[in-house]
Symmetry: C2
Subunit: 336 residues, 2 copies
Amino acid sequence: MTRTKSRQIVLAARPHGAATPDNFRLEEIELPALGRNEILLATRYLSLDPYMRGRMEARKSYSPPTAIGGVMEGEVIAEVTMSNNPAFDVGTLLLARSGWCSHAISNGSGLVKLDGRFKPVTTALGVLGMPGLTAYAGLFDIGKPKPGDTVVVAAASGPVGSLVGQLARMKGARAIGIAGGAAKCAFAKKELRFDGVIDHRSPDFADQLAAACPNGIDVYFELVGGKVWQAVLPLLNDHARIPICGLVAQYDKSAASYELAPTMREILSRSLNVRGFIYREFADQRSEFIDNVSRWIDEGHIRFREDIIQGLENAPEAFIGMLSGRNFGKLIVAVS
Amino acid sequence: MTRTKSRQIVLAARPHGAATPDNFRLEEIELPALGRNEILLATRYLSLDPYMRGRMEARKSYSPPTAIGGVMEGEVIAEVTMSNNPAFDVGTLLLARSGWCSHAISNGSGLVKLDGRFKPVTTALGVLGMPGLTAYAGLFDIGKPKPGDTVVVAAASGPVGSLVGQLARMKGARAIGIAGGAAKCAFAKKELRFDGVIDHRSPDFADQLAAACPNGIDVYFELVGGKVWQAVLPLLNDHARIPICGLVAQYDKSAASYELAPTMREILSRSLNVRGFIYREFADQRSEFIDNVSRWIDEGHIRFREDIIQGLENAPEAFIGMLSGRNFGKLIVAVS
């Protein structure tokens, strides 16, 4: 019997400062034969997400780090191509956490079948997936925008930021987006219908943000940290809510630059609510979230953009680019 | 007609660093005659609270600063001694915000009559007053202790900390208190029945705190900031809640020492909820709070301690002492 070969990208070395191509290595391995109840998964799409940068560090974050030589972790859309498990027919598309690889063997646990709500199927990794639920639960459960509130989010053309802005507007809030470069700003303004969009590359970025928020900021949905946070902090209103689900601008920096923070006195004197969270905390909302957002997409309230690159071997470069904002929309690798 | 004289303590100068007696001045003024609908209030008890330190600064916090030469602000229990207002009989005891003075004229607005639930009446300034509501709403609405959680609070013998610890225990949580000196620690342990009490003056304070919290900290009710916060931060569990209603240890310090803060990365990686608040936000719970806590006092579940000093002229020294922890229980000035 022929053994299936899997190409996989492993963590070759931990980054010092910015991640580089040397941190990754492409390998080919031979998978064992399928055992009882096992299925073979062929990866169709691999999701690339900023949180993966954290797993490359030795330090424990909310999940343990990836081992040196270990396959890079990640969520994929896979197709069942062989099955010894009656619960999974060949041809079934599902979500799996098999990582940066072309093929994997699973016993079926933790797999989520994809139904007709995912149009196209790649939305299961983006607007209807982990980034979408992050935006939905973080904004509604922590941000709690009220009509007339000003909601600010960075990475406004990305999978989380774009949904945060559109959901905020559906709640009657003003959505101010931050993005890098003219193309992303134009997309956020025209396609995503943000009320205002600021280019963080502008020399007077902080002044522009202040001008766009004449009534201050009621919700700052924190994805990036760094200079954006520094510009936001003075504009936060009393009782502002700050859901934090990422700090992309800081991931590639040394520990010292993580020290940017609101002071305890600022949190006290303005009754701020600063709240870190991971989408998993809101897993029980997943079904409601997919129902609602897929319907809102059908109805034209929610738009999204995907940035699909071809070939597993190109994943490291695309991932490195994403950390400095070179992607335009949800970054996905098509794995043939 | 004889005019009523009022003794009052005014802000003579803003503090540079620690507050000193020179920052205050005792004056005597002659009040105008009572106008239509006005009443004369004779202060019986003046509450001294750490937030007053903030009003002495020029910087706006959540309330505007006291002007130089202005009467120090504060809440008092006053007795109506003359009345041109049919809604207020002579002899009525009520809560007023007339400040550090012996007498004041009011048109009745904002006054709160005291009923039989306040036994003794001074509880209206402490366990059944602003400090009590701060503890009650901050712990229940933000801290949300669950059975088995570890709840840590400093100033454990003070009006907020003592109630936080006892309420946490009523919810089935473990209450760990922090206090300064053997007498306060013994009181918190024996009278208030904290599960553990640490003396923040111990050289190995941080180690003792870690040993008292073998399962980490789920709720840290922040009143003091400074070195206590630094010792707490490494012990915070994932999803810990940190209500912040005061930073007493930092009030007398320079701006630089306000910079102690959790980093955004710590808030993110441990899904912390860091939430500043002022009791006024929870004003709609006041009636329920007084009903419940007064009943729990009657039933023996809640104990409290008041530190009553005599004479308005002694208020500045008592206030200065409170900022370095020299009071023992809720600090109140009896104003004859």
